[in-house]
Each structure stands twice: as structure tokens, then as C-alpha cells.
């Protein structure tokens, strides 16, 4: 058996800055054919997400373990634009018409982060939070199962699902089967593509770009079977890190610490400390029934710190040493000599 990497995104630390998604883009998808791809994306929740309304598209496995081929997202559901009319703006010499900057490849009605900072609720009780998404490195990857050409495989050492580009025929069954809709189509190479877990970096002991470049220190990476790791502590011991949509049955290896939120404003304008703004039912719809317990555990442990008592969980989440987020992948890439 090979090993399996896992990640934890702490949503109480994520500030939606997209440094992860930008770092990923610059490294892997900043070229023709891939410009509309965001292997790592961050969305405001509640929201329609990336691609638009992906949660309604289907995929994964049913309760009996049968593969579900869901809908294939339309390119417009990913949306975005990457070409702009610079020439017209800068040097058109068009007699003062003042052409403004606009996309030339598409007039988008959606994009990776289209509904940024919208969320839900009614003023003053509006609420939202940020959620990054990458490949879930599933233990039961429906994408691998679905490929008619046998192009997809689980990487032996890291357990990331990869694609042999030479075998990929662009059938996009993987994209239909992936319930998270994190698989894109490259119109230039006519192949599908998705997050590769930065395996070339892992091979050199360097954390994935989205982890190592997160200024919020919100992402942990490590091996799932390392019982001494922060990931094990968060996922297995304290159970404060949960998979997204476990009911899709692909057994993701990416987990989320659910967000606490501000207390409600009562109808008389005072603050009601018995209720937080994000409805528990909404968080349960994302992370399953364990989310209420996870939030209580977080609150209890934070209360310990308020009383001056120690908390192993809180120390883990604070991550006093940045390297502790990187697990065994804490090498400085600039030290590599090719």
C-alpha cells in the first residue's frame, strides 16, 4: 500500500485572500489552455461556488457504492476572462473615445470568485466565510474509477490522483464523476487537468504551493497515517476537522475546521450571545452532522485559554512555528540545486 497525504484548511484562519489560488495559478495554469483553470479556488460561503452551482451537479458514489456520473460543468459555469483590450485602452488613438478595459475572450457572467463577500442573512445579521478548495485526494476517487481510458491513477507515495496525459482522450468522464467539480478541460491539449497536489514539490520535501504560500497559516499538510501529526490530532483525536460533503462517499483527504462566527444581533439591537450568525444547519449541509460537536470542542478549548489553562488543540491551531503546518514537507525550495 502506498501512503496518503492529507490536508486541513482551518476556516477560522482563512481570510479569502486567494494567495493559495494565485500561487497555484502562477505555478501550474498560467499558460494557454489553462488560463481559465483554478485548481485551487476560494469561495465565499454560502454561495454558488466554483463552478457555479457545483453542489447540484452530482458525482461520487451512492450509498451502495455505485459510481455516479453527474453533470459536466459548462465552461461558462467556470467563467472568468483572461484576455483584455489593452491595445485599445492604451494606444488606440481613437480621438478621446476612452475605451475602457474589458475582456475580449468572453463577457463573463460568472468567475472563480464571482460572489465574493456576498454570503447570506439579512442586515445586520449578514454572515459569510471563506472556503478554499483543491483536489480532495480522495481515498475512493470517482474520477479514477470513471475514466474509460485508464488514464487516472493514485500516486504510490502521496496518494494524489494523477492523470497520464498520453492516455487521456478528453472524454471528461472524470469531470462528470468528480462531485466537487475540480476537474477542468484544456481546450488546447484536449485533455482534462486538475490539481496534482504539487507532487513534484512533495518529492523534494517541499509543501504544496497553496500550503506553503498561505499567509493566513491556515493549511496543514502531512501523511494521513502519521499519528503524531497535527492532521491526526485535528481529524482523529479532536475531530474538529471534517471532510466537505462526506455524503458524496469519495472519502476525501482534505478536511476543514469549521468557522465560528459573530454573535447574532437580537431584534432589539442588543447582542444575543446564545446564537452565532452562521446557522448550524448550513454548516451541517457542508460538513455533515459532526460539525456541531466540532464547534463546541473549539469553543471549549478556547474557553480554557481564556481561563489561562493549557490546550493542546489550541496550540496546534495557533501553530507557533510556521513549519509545524508543513509536516514532513518543510524544506525551503530555494535550497534545491537542480
Amino acid at each position: 500500500m502506498g501512503r496518503q497525504i492529507a490536508m486541513v484548511f482551518d476556516l477560522n484562519k482563512c481570510i479569502g485572500c486567494q494567495t493559495c489560488s494565485v500561487a497555484c495559478k502562477v505555478l501550474w495554469t498560467n499558460q494557454d489552455g489553462r488560463r481559465d483553470m483554478w485548481w485551487c479556488s476560494v469561495n465565499t460561503q454560502p454561495g454558488r461556488g466554483t463552478p457555479r452551482d457545483y453542489e447540484k451537479m452530482g458525482g461520487g458514489y451512492d450509498a451502495g457504492g455505485s459510481l455516479i456520473l453527474g453533470d459536466l460543468p459548462h465552461p461558462d459555469d467556470f467563467g472568468g476572462a483572461s484576455q483584455f483590450n489593452w491595445q485599445a485602452v492604451h494606444t488606440s488613438g481613437n480621438g478621446g473615445g476612452h475605451t475602457h478595459l474589458q475582456p475580449t475572450d468572453r463577457q463573463p457572467t460568472w468567475a472563480m470568485n464571482w460572489d465574493e463577500d456576498q454570503g447570506a442573512g439579512e442586515y445586520p445579521n449578514a454572515y459569510y466565510f471563506y472556503m478554499p478548495r483543491i483536489c480532495n485526494f480522495c481515498s475512493k476517487p470517482s474520477c479514477v474509477d470513471a475514466c474509460p481510458n485508464g488514464a487516472l491513477y493514485k500516486h504510490e507515495e502521496f496518494g494524489v490522483s494523477l492523470r497520464d496525459d498520453s492516455k487521456c482522450q478528453g472524454a471528461q468522464q472524470c469531470a462528470r464523476a468528480c462531485p466537487y467539480k475540480k476537474i477542468y478541460f484544456d481546450a488546447v491539449s484536449k485533455t482534462s487537468r486538475h490539481c496534482i497536489g504539487c507532487f513534484p514539490r512533495l518529492e523534494h520535501g517541499v509543501a504544496p504551493a497553496c500550503v506553503r504560500q498561505c499567509p493566513g497559516r491556515a493549511v496543514f499538510v502531512g501523511y494521513r497515517d502519521d499519528s503524531a501529526s497535527p492532521i491526526h490530532r485535528l481529524v482523529e483525536e479532536y475531530k474538529v476537522a471534517l471532510p466537505l460533503h462526506p455524503e458524496w462517499n469519495t472519502e476525501p483527504n482534505v478536511f476543514y475546521v469549521p468557522p465560528l462566527s459573530a454573535f447574532m444581533v437580537a431584534p432589539d439591537g442588543s447582542i444575543d450571545e446564545s446564537q452565532r450568525r452562521i446557522p448550524l444547519s448550513y454548516l451541517e449541509s457542508l460538513f455533515g452532522p459532526g460539525v456541531g460537536t466540532a464547534l463546541r470542542t473549539l469553543e471549549d478549548e478556547m474557553a480554557k485559554r481564556k481561563r489561562g489553562q493549557p490546550s493542546q488543540l489550541i496550540d496546534t491551531l495557533i501553530a507557533y512555528q510556521w513549519q509545524s503546518l508543513l509536516g514532513p514537507f518543510d524544506r525551503d525550495p530555494s535550497a534545491i540545486q537542480w
Binding site: 470568485n113 497520464d164 499567509p215
Partner: protein, 926 residues
Amino acid sequence: MAKQQKTTKGPASEQSYRDAWKWDKVTWGCHAVDCYPGGCPWRVYSRDGKIVREEQAAIFGTIEPGVPDMNPMGCQKGASWSQQHYNEERVLYPMKRAGKRGEGKWQRVSWETACNDIADAILDAVKDQGPQSLYHIGTPGEGGTQQILWSNFSAQLGFQVTDLQAEINDFSPGIYTTFGKFDPAPGADDFFHSELVLIWHANPVYTNITWYHFMQEARYNGGEVVTIAPDFSPSAVHADYHIPIEIGTDAAFANAMSQVVIEEGIFDRDFIKKQTDLPLLVRSDNRHFLRAADVDGSGADDQFYWLDAKTKKIVPAPKGTLSPGDVDPVLDGTAHVTLADGKVVEVRPVFCLLRDMLNAQYTPEKVQATCGVHPKTTRMLARKIAARKTRIMMGWNSGKYYHGDLMERAMMLILGLTGNWGKHGTGARSWAVGLNDGMFSVLLKSQSGPEMTLATRGMRNAMIESMMEADPTMTDEIALYTFERQMINMMGIMTPPAFFWYHHCGYREVWNRPGYNDPEMKRTFDEYFQEACDKGWWSGIAETAKQSEPRFLIEVGGNLLRRQRGGARQLLEHLWPKLKMIVSVDWRINTTGLYADYILPAAQHYEKMNQPYSSPMHLHVLLIEKAAEPPGEARSEWQIIQGIAKALQKRSKERGIEPWARKNGEPVQLANLWEWITKNGDLAEDEKLIDEVFRDSAILGTIPEETTLESMRKNGAVRAVGWGGSAMMVCQQSPIEPNKTHTPWRNHVEGLKPYPTLTRRAQFFIDHEWYLEAGEELPVHKDNPHHGGEFPLRLTSGHPRWSIHSMNHTSRIILGTHRGHPVMYMNPDDMAVRGLADDDEARVFNDLAEMRIHVRHSPGTQPGQVVIYNGYEPFQFKDWTGPENVEPGMVKWLHFAGGYGHLQYRGLHWQPIPIDRAVHLDVAKA
């Protein structure tokens, strides 16, 4: 089950990914921009002579044991800056306007032609209107050391270099009014020590991406985060409490909390006696401080008094220390004093006046109608502040309100009453840059090498020491500010732009609109303006601006037409016709460049050796190396300066133009300008220059003695060891300790060192005549004037998530991280009544202008509020008309006050700054 390990030995496609990650060169990088704190250390990866990507270096070690480290400082702009090196917006060659201004017709010219044309325009302007017609618009822009050098170069040529603090308007007038300085800049890691963080007039989730984590880590660690904002701002996402306050009513809310802590007796009596002016006595007959001039007729108008509880006598409050000595100053009491003229007057401590005012007007119940905060919430928060180490995480939002000074004074008051500054985890947060004194010394000295560096600093120190000898109560900090004030007045290093705006940019008409000003003003704006000029409060600056018309304007890495409140509406109509030449020096074509006569291509961040701005936020000085050659004919700023210097030298000789005088009367070094700036060529190369800057900084004590370019190449960054001589660093008034987080103002609190204010204390009572006339001697709440006109909605804004000023908004990658076009946040109810759906185009209008923008459905936006985060390029909007056009660009008349202790101009500090928050307007479907 998944088909695990079907292909274990990687196919060729694996290798393609491995190859994509490779590089052949690694250099140190950073972004020399005035984001805050900036100075994030990066590694830049290049391949085949081209920059391919960057990644945070993450090299900062733990400073204080038990406090999280600062890694990996950086943000999404930084993580994609490499790609902006090759964006379509780059300017590659010197470009000369070929059509009308703004028409978009350009002619590529040689550097020689460009430099000669620009030199001739400078010489023409001097001949026509004198050197005061030359304007260098001061901005931090893009450039770090190389940019600062250009400002110095322009100043040496007698340019009016406008004060960047007013240009960018990141000033905190109320913090300044209270402390005589506005720039307390705690270490980012010091937030971990906070037990209560009030995010108030700031949006750090957008603007402090690099170190927001400390606030969340403090929250995890048992602290609490409270966000006070009209909207459910992104910085309320991780708050325990969001207090949805009415727009612009923060002074009322802060005062109500102050009322609670005084009424409940939970204020810090010892702290306010030592640190503040609250025990100082005020005459009941005229509401002026009791001064020595009143008491003994000595004429000293800066000696104040308090009442000793033990002796019941009036005693002079010491000026040279905050220690009360044997005196126990009374906070609550009344006394009668016989003045030198025999008159008997009643006097009371400021504390009494304050308490009476708070009880009369600012109980939590009374302010609820104004600020919409429930009294229970006000009391709850006031009690928390009184009980905990509290820091206000503030930015530069409050200062951009018309009455932002009052808000800030009230915010400082609740901190002061509760003993919340000068201790780890407490205080207000502002910004400051420095720690790299070589940045300034290198051009000002007459020759290269350490001798002149030491000699120049020695002369300065001697002058400061002589001031302190003349007045033994003067602290080194106060002496430095006095010295700087004199230098700036004498040398004309920078000038407050308010007078330039008034006389040459059409603001006189706007500023005089009665409805746009405080309705409580007793006289017209112009009457106050004229009085300020007549009384010499601005020491001739006002007259200089008036004397000659602007003829030449240069901006380096700035974008005036985006930034100026009033934008194209004011500038294209009023200023542009007066200018014979407008030069934009930048790596990209921005809106100001589009309306300029010349665009000169600057090398980008990773294409030249440079140093970014350094700050107390992380206390490190960094190096930027050249990773690759700039594309086209782009050059570093330092090389462009030299080209212009040589051209000026040559053209003035050819045209027989004699050197003109700078403000201090010295002739400019026209005949040997290049030799003078490069120190006879010693520093002509970028590497030589930057090496000298590091060496000078080491000599001047900000970085370790052994620091050189070589050591910086090895380590990339070095932690500061001393504050050096720049005012923004000296103002920190705390020791730099190797294993402690930085908290400003410990010298005041622990060492009882006086503040640089008129009263030498944190001053909440301002008895300047104008303040008394305005009823603003204490921090009061006043309603926001209806600037913009009588319209139902109010535009607030803030720094954006996506850009540092306008620099990154047009990056192709950044444009892909959101809608890719400008948006305005609007409450769904306000949208519905106007028939607007999400992403519809709306028409935004008021008295001044109208513009088009797409709306964003935003339940978190307060009804009646619309939010347009700033920084968008005007050319991103239809007709190149952005939100700056609907901003009147008001200034508050009181900020022309002077002649009063610390209320007088010194560079980067006290002066009128433009207002752009809570502009009145309306919105309709386009």
C-alpha cells in the same frame, strides 16, 4: 474501490510537471510599494533569463518565545507580481504624446530625446514662472529607495515636492492632535499579546493579509475580536462581535464607552494622571488652560497647572517629565486662582469638563439614537476594554471622514481612560516607515564614503543637543521634531499640497460650498483660510503656492488622476491647462500616464537592485536583487534620474541658463549635477548606490555594523538594531529588544517621558481659538456634512483586497480572481427599490459628477450605504470616469489651524488632508 496504484512508475506527463517547477536562478525579491507593512521577503525564481515566479522566502525566525513567528509573509499581489513584469500594461520605451492629451497617440522616442525634452521643459518652466512652478507629486508609489532618491533629487532642484501624506491621505489627524504624532506602529506579532482587538475603521482581512493571522491566533489564545463597522465587513468574518454602527458616528459611540468607564469608576486613575492632560486646569471664564502667563505674568504660555490634593494648592505641572513627583493631582475638583492682574477665576481639571460633557450628552441611552448601538452592547464593550489589554486595530479610514479627527480623539480617549497604550498588546495602531537611514543620507551628503555620513549626522545631533541645552525640559524627540520643522521650512524638502489644490486645482470653489462643510462653522471657509495665511501659520508655503502657476509636473510610480479626490473632474479642468509638461515615470501605463506628455519606462521590481520600505511592524530591512534584464528599454529610476541630470547639465549650458536658487537661497548644482548626485560617479551604478545605502544605515545605527550588500545578498534581510534618526522611527519611543515584540510608547508609559504636544501630555483638550469657536476643544461627535449634495445614499470605501493602490487591479491574474470589473456593494433593499439586480450596471451621481459601475448584491452592506473599494484605474470605467469624480475632495477647515504647540506643519504630519468617506450620492439603474 478506486483503482489504486494502477500505474506506479510515473508516465511522461509526471516529468512535464517536474520540469515546469525547475529554475536556474534564485534571487531575493520584495515589492517596494507602500502596502503596509510591506517588506515581505520573497525568493524570485528565473529560468533562461526570464522571471518565472516568486515564492515567500519565509525566513523570519521566532522573535519572542511563546509568540507565533511571522512566516510566510506575503499576499496574492506579491505571489503574482512576477507575471506583471510581462503584462500587456508594461511600458517598454520612452513614449512621447503624439496627439492631444488623453487621445492615446504615442511616438516612441530615444532616451536622449526624452531626457533633453524634459530638461528643456524644466528650464522653460523656471524661466517662465520660477522654480516653484516645478511640481514633483510626492507619493510612496512604487520604488522604495530608488523612488525616495527621486524626491530628494527634485527637492535639490527646487521643485515643490508635495507632501505624500496629504497626497495619499493616510494620516490620522485625531491621533496626531492627541499625541503630537500619529504613527505608533506595533509589531505585527505584538497583536498576539492583545486580550481584546477592536477592528475599528480598518479592514485588515483585505489590507493586512500578511499578518492578519496574529489576530486570529490571539483569538484562539483566549482573546476576543470585535469589529465595529457599518457593514458586515470581511474583517467581521472572524470576529466574536460585529457592532453594526451607523456611518460616521464613532465618536459618539466611543464617548459613550468613556462615559461608562468614568461613571462606573473603572478607569485607570494613575495612568491618566501621569499620561494625559485630564488633570490640567482649565479656566471656567474662557475655557482656556490656566497658563503661567495668567498666573505670574511671566509670559510663558506653555506652562500648565494642576491642583495638588494634599496641599490644595495650584502647582505647575512639570514639563520635563510625566512624573507628578510628590504631587497628587486632583481629577475632580474646583479651585479659585488669583491671576497676575488681580482677577479671581474658577479653574477645573479637564477631567471634570469631560465628565460633565459625557454625562450630559453621551450616556449609552442618549447615543443609541445616533449610532444605533444598544446600550447593553456599549456597556458590555466598555467593561471589556477597562478589564483587558486592548488594542484598536485601526487603519486610515477614520482620518478620511470629515470629522475623523473627532472620532480618533474619542477613540484615543477610551484607550487613555483604561490605561491602554504603551504596554504589550495595547494601543492604537498606525503605520510608520524607516529603519533605513541610508536611504536619505546617501544623496544629501557631499561625497561617498562613511566620513560625510558621520559628519552630516554629527551636525544634526549637535543642533538637537543645543536645543536641549537651551531648554532642559525638551526631550530628544521634541527637539528632533522641532529641528525637522525648521529644516523643512528652510530647505523646502516637501510642501503641504493643500495650497496647491486651493490655488491651482479648482478646490477653492468646492471647499467654500456651505452645505459641504460643518454647519456649525461660524465663518466662511475662505475667512478661515485667509486667517491661517495671514497669521503665518504655514510659514510662507501658502504664498509660494500662490505666486506662480504650475508649469511642469512629474510623478514617479504614482497615479494622480486615480488618487486625487475629485480626480479628472478637478485636475483636467483646472490644473492640466496650466502645465506645459506632464511626465509619468512608471513600469506600466496608468491613467495619469494616458493623460501625460511623456511616459518613461521604469524597470519593474525584480529587474533592478533596490530596497523596499521597512517598518516597525516586522523590524527588518530587506534587499531586492536584479533577477533579469528589464524588457525593452526600461531602466531603473536611478539610471533615469542620471539621464535627466546629464541632460539638464548639457541643456542649461547650451542655453546659457544660470543656476536658480532653492528655498534656502543656495543655487542648485546645475553645472555639475550628475557629478553631484552620483558623488563623482562613485554611486552611478545601482549596486554601488544600494551598497552605500546599506553601509550608511549600518553607520547610522539602524542595522548591524557589519551589514553590506554582500551580507544582504547572503541573508536577504536583517533585523534592525536601532531606530536611527527618522521621525517616524523616533516616535516609536520604545526599546528594540532582540527577543520581544515591539510595542510603541513604552518610554512614555514606563519611562514617564513627555509627549511632543503643547502640554507634553496626551492631550484631549485643545484650547486653540478655532477649536473653541468650533466647540471641538474636547472630542465631541458631529454629524457628517452632506458633501456631494442632498442625496440619500452615502459612499464609503476602503483599501482594496486586490491591489496596492491601482498597481495590481489590472494584472491579468488578479483580474481573474474576481469579477474582473469594478463593483459597488449595495444592500439588497436599496437595490430592489431602484430595480437593480446583481451585476446590473448602475449610474452613480451627485452634485459633482456621475459614473457607471456594476452593483454587487450585498446583504452585509448597511441600508443607505454603498461601498466602492478604491484603487480601480479610471480606465476600468466607462469614459474613464471612476468614483474619484463623485468625491468632492473636501478638507476640514480646522486642519489649517496652526501656531499652537504641535498643531503646526511638519513633513508627513499636521496638515489638511482630503476627505472621501460618506460622500452623499444616489444610484439609479443605468
